[in-house]
Each structure stands twice: as C-alpha cells, then as structure tokens.
C-alpha cells in the first residue's frame, strides 16, 4: 500500500468541495437573493394580456346616454416578431405605402422598443377589420386587439364630455403608480378627464405562458393570478340632452358660448362652446386625421369657451354693480340720474349712453344706462367713509367675489379660468402709483379690466334668481355606486353672497331685469309669452390687437322670476348688440327648457332664422379660406404629379430618365405604381427591415 502522498487525497477533496461551495453560493445568489432573474423569467415566459373594462357611461338628467361604448379593433404589432412578413401585402390591405409602413415601424420601435406590442393602426373600420381578420395568419407579429370605443348617439356635448386619447410618456411619468401602460387610453379633456378615476374602471390582467417565439402555451397557473376587469362607473349628469342639442343648433356658425344652470342645484343644464365639433369625429378609424384637422382649425373648436375664455361681461355686470351700490346705500331704488348722452362725472365724455334721459334704478337696468351705473360706481369709490378709493374698491371686490367672480368656481371640467377682479394695486402699478376713480369707471359697466367666464356670469344669474345663494355649478350630479373619491362633495355646499345684501336689493335688481325683457333693451323678440323672465343684455366693445371689432352680444337671464328653474348666460362673439342675438337665443332655450318645446310659428321662425345666421367673424373666415386654398393647392399639386407620373410610366417604360430616378416624392405619392421603379431606386432601409425588403423584391 503506497501510503505516501495520501494526504494529497484530502487536498483534492478540499479542492472539489471548494468548487462545489462556490457553485452553491452562486445558485443561492441566483435563485434566492436575485429577483432580477425571476423577473426576467416572468417577462420571458408570461404574456400579460390586459383586459380593458368598459368605461363608464355618461347619462343626462333624464337618464339618456350621452355616450356609449362599442367595440372596435386595433391592429397591434410587435416589431421584433414581424421579420419576413409580406409587407407589401399588408400595406395593400391597409391601403398605405411601404415607406409609410417603415416610417411607422421606426416610430413604434423608437417609442416602445421592438419587443413590446404597440398599436400600428388604431380603431380599424369595420370593413378594414373584416379584411384583416381573414388574413391575420399571414402576418406573424401582428394581432387584432379588441378595444371599446366611445360613440355619441346625439352627436353633441363634445366640449363637456371631452375625448379619450392614448397616454404619452409624460402622462405615464406623472401617473406612475396608477397602473397605466403605453397604449392605454385616458380621458384627455372634459368629463372624461375630470372623472377618469371613476370612468376607467379596473383593468383585468390575464396571464398566459408563452414560448421563445411568443406563442401562447396556455394559461399561467390555471389563471390563479388573473384578475377580472371591473367596469367603470356610470356618471349621471344634470345635462339636458334636448336643451344641449337645441343650444348647439342655435350656435351653429357662430363663435360664442352658452351656459344654463339649474339655480336650485347648481347643475349645469347645457354648456355650449361654439364652434364645436361632432364628438363622434374623434372616435373610429379616422381619429388621427380628424384630430389634426380640428387642431388646425382657425375657429379653435377644442377651446371650451364658457370656461376657458375670459370676457368683459359688459352691461350684464351692471346687475352686480347695481346690487353693490344699493347695498352700500350710495343709491336707493328711487335715485334718479340724468344722462345727457354721455357720462359727465369724469369729463372724458365716456362712456356714452344709448338713450338720453333721466332714469330711476329699474329703468336704468331696463335701458342699460351707462351713466347711471358709472355714477353709482364713482359715488361708491368716492365715499368718504371708506377712507379712500383703494379701500372702496376693496369693499366692491369683496362683494363681487362673493358672487363667485375673480376666482375659479371649481366646475368639474378642466381648464377653468379665474376671471379678473382688478385691485387698486393693479391700477397703481399701471398708472405710475396713482389711483383715480375715473381710471376704472368703465368697470361699472363691465367694460374695463373686469373679466369673467361665461359660467361665472350664468352663476351670477343663478345668485340673483336665488336671492343670494348658489351651489358651485357642476355637470355631474351623481356617480353610480356612490361617490367613492369624494369628487362631488364640493357641489353639496351652499354658498351665500355677502350677508350685508338685503333681500330688497335683489327685488330691485329683479324688477329691473324683468323690465329689460318686458320693455327694456331686450323687449320684443326675447319675450316669452306667459313666462316672466328676468334678463340683462350686454353689448361688449372689444378690439383685436388694438383694432376695434364688432361688439360681442351678451345676455344673462333666469326664469321664471318666482321659483326660478333656469339661469342662463349666452354670448355671441362679434354679433353686435346683446338684444340682437344673445337675448333671443337665451329666450328660446328658456322656453324650450320650461315648456319642453317652442310654441308658435313666430318663435319657430325666429329659431330657424337664428340657426341659419352665420356670425363667424371676418378674421376667422379669412383664415379658413386661406387654409382651404392651401389644401386645394396641395391637392392639385398631387394630382398634377400623379398625371405626370402616369405619363412617364406609359411613355418611358424602358429608359427611365435620371431625374425621375432621383425624385423620392414620386414614389411616395403613388404606392400602387412604384413597383416598376423599385428595381432601380434603392431606398435606404433600416437594418432590421432588411428581410422584408428582400421579400418585396422577390414579389417584384
């Protein structure tokens, strides 16, 4: 027995053991402590299919659905799996060009990598879906993904409802932990955005096992970890479909806005932003095209004017300055003031008044006498008991802000503006530290720096109708299954105006406003037989870049005077006097709301006439004409190119001139014909697209 070297047997065993310990340590590291590999394994082998829940439906006050869901399909692509497909055939089916195909692919890969599924063509038309569905097996890497899309049965309310759109990277970064993923849709504007949390529901996830070629092998763990989709909650709004439809009809071909509020609840009955667009325009296969079109429309249809635009309220603001004047005692109901044709208090001859004569408060409101309210405002500012004009203005602003002016009301729609109640500091800064009552006298008649949104104006009407209180205007009354996120709590708080305003003041103002309709500025066309409506016209001077434009037509009203059921504000840009357009439109809407229909041939004729009047301002018309003609030129150029090309194709089949070879635009414009050129013109193709290019050449 050779005993020597036997100790080396131990050493060898120790070496073996050491190596095995190293292996075991690495195994522990890989399998126990390193979650990286576990996660990589999951992304390798598990295909998460997101089950989209139905978005909540939005109903009007009579439970008519303002929008619904229907199913449509997206063409989804995983670029890394598309190698070797017949691009040409796919492009033919989709009716696109191969260069367009490559462009889209590059974009998709740039945005969402080559290995993750991205939408290639969203919301296919029914016809396209049928065509593709038959041929899907030919295009590995492409799948048709079901998606619920919105439809709008009444074609109305685009500015209220808003639209949904694909989330972008900025959105994803902002809403990191809310479970959104690339290609998800989210509410971009309107109620869709405000109530996104409620409407979206909960997405479900199904997990499948897939193999190395991404083929589904079966469900993962028998669906143990799958979650089912929970449908979004429905919203019940205060919108009245018929009123909204009529309001949109009346605002056709006009620029302006309408807001009607139920004074008892603060619920918005209708809200129009004109020009608007058909909400169905932004669903379906042509969404992208239409979106671009609307975005470039010089009439700015995406602008929600009743909330997002601030206007000088004009004479409608006299109601507020009147109330403040009466409350502060600078005038009473019997105070009379004479207008010789203009306001004499400041010596500037401004503002002018339409009707010369002597007015008491009621008549001053009825005939919208500028001098009367300028005097009221001047008296107020110069009241010695305030100790100066600065504090007098502060008093004025305190009252005004209790009417919901100068700050966001908190309507449940996005991008609301604050409006403006200018302070003395503002004027001092503007006028080199000095502050004179005469500098801001036009505020009294809503013409100076005072600015409101139309919703604020409608809300002022609500307050006058209610004699001193309001609920914040809102669209959504209730949410199916309860208000889980406390989104409606703010609309259940009753706001009161300044406590100092006595009830008699409201009576006085209402008297005046009733007179406006009965025999004042809005008499005649705006009188609804059998209904006592209180209103106030406004004719707002405005200018664009210093150039005087046609007046904006304003009207604020509520009816019936006792037990008011509707408060309304109408504004037509560049339409002239308030009584001409805004007032009759408001009166028709009030009648419609209170009586359910417009009675009498005369009123109906008025309706038709208003509907057919085109009040699009000159500037917009010019911009539109310019856009249209540019489009025309482009189209004719395209047509010309096409003709040229066809000529070339027929005459120079054999010898192709070098100029034509080097004109890339030629190829883009005519996808069907370019195959004959393809042999000669080699476009640069991204490396990964090489395969399909080869394929295409084979076909050629």
């Amino acid at each position: 027995m050779p005993a020597f070297n036997q100790s080396r047997s131990r050493i060898i065993q120790i070496i073996f053991l050491a190596v095995f310990i190293i292996i075991a340590a690495q195994l522990v590291h890989l399998q126990v402590f390193s979650s990286k590999y576990k996660m990589a394994a999951e992304s390798n082998a598990i295909f998460r299919k997101v089950i989209y829940p139905d978005r909540g439906i939005i109903f009007d006050r009579k439970r008519k659905a303002l929008l619904q869901n229907n199913i449509s399909f997206d063409l989804v692509v995983t670029p890394s799996e598309t190698k070797g497909i017949d691009t040409f055939a796919l492009c033919n089916l989709l009716g696109i060009d191969t260069s367009d195909y490559r462009k889209r692919m590059k974009e998709i890969i740039f945005k969402n990598t080559a290995v993750r599924p991205s939408i290639f063509e969203a919301l296919l038309s029914d016809e396209m879906y049928a065509k593709l569905n038959e041929n899907m097996y030919k295009f590995p890497g492409f799948i048709l993904n079901e998606r619920k899309a919105r439809t709008y049965p009444y074609n109305i309310g685009a500015n209220i409802l808003g639209y949904i759109g694909e989330v972008d990277t900025t959105f994803l970064r902002k809403h990191k932990n809310e479970g959104y993923e690339m290609n998800d849709y989210t509410g971009m504007t309107g109620l869709e955005r405000t109530y996104e949390k409620v409407l979206m529901g909960e997405r479900g996830v199904k997990r499948y096992i897939k193999d190395n070629k991404s083929r589904i092998q079966g469900s993962y763990e028998n669906g143990m970890y799958d979650t089912s989709a929970v449908a979004g909650k429905n919203l019940y709004t205060s919108i009245d479909v018929e009123l909204q439809a009529l309001a949109e009809r009346l605002m056709k071909n006009k620029v302006g806005a309408i807001v009607a509020i139920n004074p008892k609840t603060g619920g918005i009955l209708c809200m129009v932003s004109a020009p608007t667009y058909n909400p169905n325009y932004l669903t379906g296969s042509d969404r992208k095209k239409h979106f671009a079109e609307l975005l470039l429309d010089p009439r700015l249809p995406f602008n929600n004017r009743p909330l997002g635009n601030m206007y000088s309220p004009g004479s409608t603001f006299k109601t507020v300055s009147g109330i403040i004047g009466l409350t502060e005692g600078v005038i009473d109901e019997r105070t009379t003031i004479t207008c010789p044709g203009f306001f004499t208090g400041c010596g500037t001859g401004k503002p002018k008044c339409l009707d010369k004569g002597t007015f008491n408060f009621t008549n001053a409101v009825a005939h919208s006498d500028n001098t009367y309210f300028s005097t009221v405002f001047k008296r107020l500012l110069e009241q010695p008991r305030y100790g100066g004009a600065d504090s007098a203005l502060t008093v004025f602003n305190t009252y005004a802000s209790s009417f919901g002016l100068g700050a966001k009301l908190g309507v449940d729609l996005p991008s609301e503006k604050k409006g403006n109640l200018p302070t003395s500091a503002y004027y001092r800064k503007k006028n080199g530290g000095k502050f004179y009552a005469c500098n801001l006298i036009s505020n009294a008649i809503g013409q100076g720096e005072v600015q409101t949104t139309l919703v604020q104006l409608a809300n002022v009407m609500t307050i006058i109708a209610n004699r001193g209180w309001y609920y914040t205007p809102h669209v959504v009354d209730s949410i199916e299954g309860g208000d889980e996120y406390k989104m409606l709590d703010a609309y259940k708080i009753k706001h009161h105006t300044d406590k100092r305003i006595p009830d008699s003041v409201y009576t006085a103002v209402q008297d005046g406003m009733q007179a406006v309709v009965d025999y004042g500025t809005a008499a005649g066309r705006s009188k609804i037989p059998g209904i006592v409506m209180c209103g106030k016209t406004g004719t707002v001077e405005n200018s664009d870049h210093g150039v005087q434009q046609k007046d904006h037509s304003f009207f604020g009203a509520f009816a019936p005077r006792d037990n008011p059921k509707i408060a309304i504000a109408v504004m037509c840009e560049n339409a002239g006097q308030g009584a001409w357009f805004a007032a009759p439109i408001a009166s028709l809407l009030v009648e419609k709301y209170l009586r359910d229909s417009i009675a009498g041939t005369e009123r109906n004729a008025q309706l038709t006439q208003l509907e057919n009047t085109n009040l699009i301002p000159q500037k917009m018309r010019l911009a539109m004409a310019k856009r249209d003609s540019l489009k025309q030129i482009k189209e004719s150029q395209k047509l010309q190119e096409k003709i040229n090309k066809e000529n070339i194709d027929s005459t120079e089949e054999e010898e192709i001139s070098p100029e034509i070879k080097n004109t890339p635009s030629k190829e883009k414009t005519n996808p069907a014909k370019d195959s004959s050129h393809k042999k000669k013109t080699n476009t640069i193709v991204a490396a990964f697209l090489n395969n399909e290019k080869k394929k295409k050449h084979n076909i050629v």
Partner: protein
C-alpha cells in the same frame, strides 16, 4: 482469482446505485426539456423519435456495455492500455482526414446510420488508462523530471489534437489529469504555478493594467523588504523574487493580451471576458484584424448564458414544479437538453433540486476517491483518480458555465446531458473503474 466465477464479487454497488440515480435524473431532465403537454408521453417514450426516448435507448446500450465490462478481465485493461491509447490517437488523427463538421468543429467521425463518434471524447478513457499504465510501471520514478515530462506528453498530446480540431472545451479536459498526477507525487509547485497563472489572468481582466503592474511591484517590494535578512545572506533569493515579478508583469502586460488577441477566437475571448462581467473589444482580435473591410459590429453573444441564468433564477428555492418550469416549457434556453441541461433542473426544482444534484455528484466524487485510496495497485489508483478528475472537471465547468461563472464551452454534464457519446464515455470510464475495483486485491501492472 478465487472469485472468478462470481462476477459480482467485490463490485461497488453503492457506486452503481449512484450512477443509476444520476441516469434517472438525467432522463427526467431530458424529458422535462422536451415534454409537450398534449402528447402521450408513454407512447413517445417508446417511439424512439424524441430525445428522451433516444436517451432511454442510449441507457440500454450503456447497460449492455457496462455488463460486458463487468464480465471482462481486469488484466485486459492493463494489457491493452497502450494499444488503446495509440488507437485513440490514430482515431483523432483520422478525424483530420475523414472528420465531419458538426457545429463548427471538425471532430466527429461518421459511423453510419446517423451515428457519429467524437474521438476526443473517447480518447479520455484511453488516456486515463495509458497514464495509469505509465505511472504504474515499476521502472517509472515519478519524482524524476523525465517521467513527469513523459506523463505530460501522454496527457497533452490528445489535448493538442483536440485544440487543433477547435474543441477547446474537450482540450481543456485533459488538463484535469494533472490532479491525478498530483496525487501520484507531482510536485505541488505545478499546481501552484497553474493556480497563480489563473489568478493573474483573472486579475488582468478585472484590473486596469497599470494599476495591476503597480500592485505587483509593491508586492515584490514588500516581499523583498520582509525577506531582507535572508537576501543579505543569499543574493539568489532577490533574483528569484525579481524574476517572478518580471514574469508576472510580463504575463499581465503582454502574454494575456497576446493570448486573447491572437490565440483565442473573438467569441472565445468575449465569453471569457463576459464571465467576469467585462466587455472584450473584438477589433483587437487577429481574426477580425485580418479582414479590415468587415465593419460588422461584434455584439457579445451572451444570450445563452443570460437565458441560462434566468432559467435557473426562475426556479427560486423550491422551483416551479415538475414539468412546470416556465423557461423550460417556453424553450428559452438554447441547447437545453445538452450543455444547459442543468437549467431545467433549476427551473423545475429550484435551489433544492440543484443542491440535491450537487450533493449526489459530491457523493460520487467522494466515493470514487475512497475507492481510489483502497486500491493495492497503482494502476487502479491512478485510473480512479483520472476518472474522478474528469468527472469533476465536467461537473464543475458545466455548472459554472450555466450559472455564468465560467466562459461557455461545450461540455456535457456527466450522465445527465442528452447524448449517447458522452453517456457511453462516462459509463465506460466508471465501469472500468468498478471492474478494477472489484479486483482490488490484485496487483495489476
């Protein structure tokens, strides 16, 4: 001799049991890799079409071969050792002429009927026998340099031939015979030098060359300082230290880059760099430099290793369950039934399964060393150590490769990986050992 009639006398049944357990585990793994949920597995097991069915046939063949070996006379192996070695070498040389190209290495000889044989694989057995034969010669004194050199020659010649066939993995197997030689008295300095060289190469890969050079210089300086008394007495010590320092710096400065750039292929260098988490710049490689026009980007091909690590990591502690391994079912790991078979175990049975297999292997290794140490004849002992070294090398390299700690070279996991050639080789290796061990009372020369 008295037990000649009883073949089973002295046979180490424990080792056979372990061998059988490994085979079963292997079959299970191959089955897991290829299993499809909707097929009748009993039928496909017998059908001979699938890999696991073929593996079953290979096992049958191995059983027959094993029986034959057990029935053979131990003297046969000593008697024919040199002849078989010569035969093996001839076979390897023959591959250069009649070899078939499989997976980029021309190392296979077609046998007809779709079967191929890889001489480099088989030659391991012959080399083990030849080494045993040489070391057990009475006139061999292994403490002499000449004997050592002859032993090196026996071992390294087939390695060289393998390398020429571009089978780097198999060529490296032959280095493990040094373990057996070490046991037989090869001075430890060889292992130390080898180990030191390995450490130096790794250090070169990991550390900036200049910093490493400075570090080496500092180590040399400290050593000189510590040994200043001895050096005062004997100048030779100084020369030795300075010499070692010069060699080390030379290696890290010139030898290592030279090897990576001029000896290895681009992909090999990349794999080695990768297992240390580094990138290798392929434009430095000789093969790439040769064709300048080729601007193709050399992307690291760590896909296999990455997927392998993912599959193993996917198992966690207890695994995804039998036939439920997500990575195995999805076929994410390339070559999973052969080189990366270990991943299927990790995926399905997790850390527990892996450790079970490791312990099984460790037990086998331990058992063979015990067997080796109880031999009376040097031949049997050297042979046993050769077997254990080959096994160890295969196990360690294969698993280290799948867990990303060693560059991936095509090396099978003994008795587990799918493949007849490898299975047969290990069976023959082990059963010759069992046969020799059964006759351990004899002195074989």
């Amino acid at each position: 001799m008295s037990n000649k009639n009883n073949v089973s006398h002295g046979v180490d049944w424990l080792l056979i049991l372990l061998y059988a357990m490994l085979l079963c585990t292997g079959l299970l793994c191959v089955f897991m890799v290829e299993y499809k949920p909707d097929t009748d597995w009993v039928a496909s097991f017998l059908g001979g079409k699938t890999n696991y069915s073929k593996q079953l046939i290979f096992i049958g063949v191995c059983a027959i071969v094993a029986t034959f070996i057990l029935l053979a006379d131990s003297k046969l192996f000593t008697a024919f050792a040199n002849l078989m070695y010569a035969f093996g070498i001839v076979l390897m040389l023959a591959t250069f002429v009649i070899g078939r190209n499989v997976n980029g290495s021309k190392s296979w000889i077609p046998l007809g009927g779709g079967f191929n044989i890889q001489p480099a694989e088989v030659c391991k057995i012959f080399t083990a026998l030849a080494l045993a034969k040489f070391l057990s010669r009475q006139e061999t004194d292994f403490s002499k340099l000449k004997s050592q050199l002859i032993a090196f020659g026996i071992v390294l010649f087939p390695a060289l031939l393998s390398r020429l066939q571009h089978e780097t993995g198999l060529a490296l197997v032959y280095l493990c015979f040094f373990i057996a030689m070490y046991r037989e008295g090869l001075p430890g300095i060889y292992l130390i030098i080898g180990f030191a060289f390995g450490v130096l190469v790794v250090a070169t890969l990991l550390v900036d060359p200049n910093i490493l050079a400075i570090a080496l210089t500092i180590i040399a300086a400290i050593t000189i300082y510590l040994l200043r008394r001895q050096i005062k007495r004997n100048k030779a010590g100084l020369y030795v230290i300075v010499g070692i320092w010069a060699v080390c710096v030379g290696v890290q400065r010139f030898a290592v880059p030279y090897i990576f750039n001029n000896v290895f292929e681009c992909y090999q260098s990349q794999r080695i760099y990768m297992s240390f988490g580094k990138d290798y710049d392929c434009s430095q490689n000789h093969a790439v430099k040769k064709d300048k026009g080729n601007t193709k980007a050399y992307k690291p091909d760590d896909y296999n290793v990455r997927q392998s690590k993912i599959a193993i990591g996917s198992g966690g502690i207890w695994g995804n369950g039998f036939l439920k391994g997500t990575q195995t079912r999805g076929k994410f790991v390339p070559a999973q039934s052969t080189d990366f078979i270990f991943t299927s175990l990790g995926d399905a049975f997790g850390l527990a399964g892996c450790l079970f297999l490791l312990l099984l292997y460790l037990f086998v290794l331990h058992r063979i060393i015990r067997i080796a140490e109880r031999q009376r004849s040097t031949f049997s002992r050297v042979y046993a150590y050769s077997v254990v070294s080959i096994l160890f090398y295969h196990i360690a390299v294969n698993i280290l490769m799948t867990i990303g700690l060693f560059p991936s070279i095509g090396i099978a996991l003994p008795l587990i990986s799918y493949g007849g050639s490898s299975l047969l080789t290990f069976t023959v290796l082990i059963f010759i050992l069992i046969r020799l061990d059964a006759d351990r009372q004899m002195v074989l020369r």
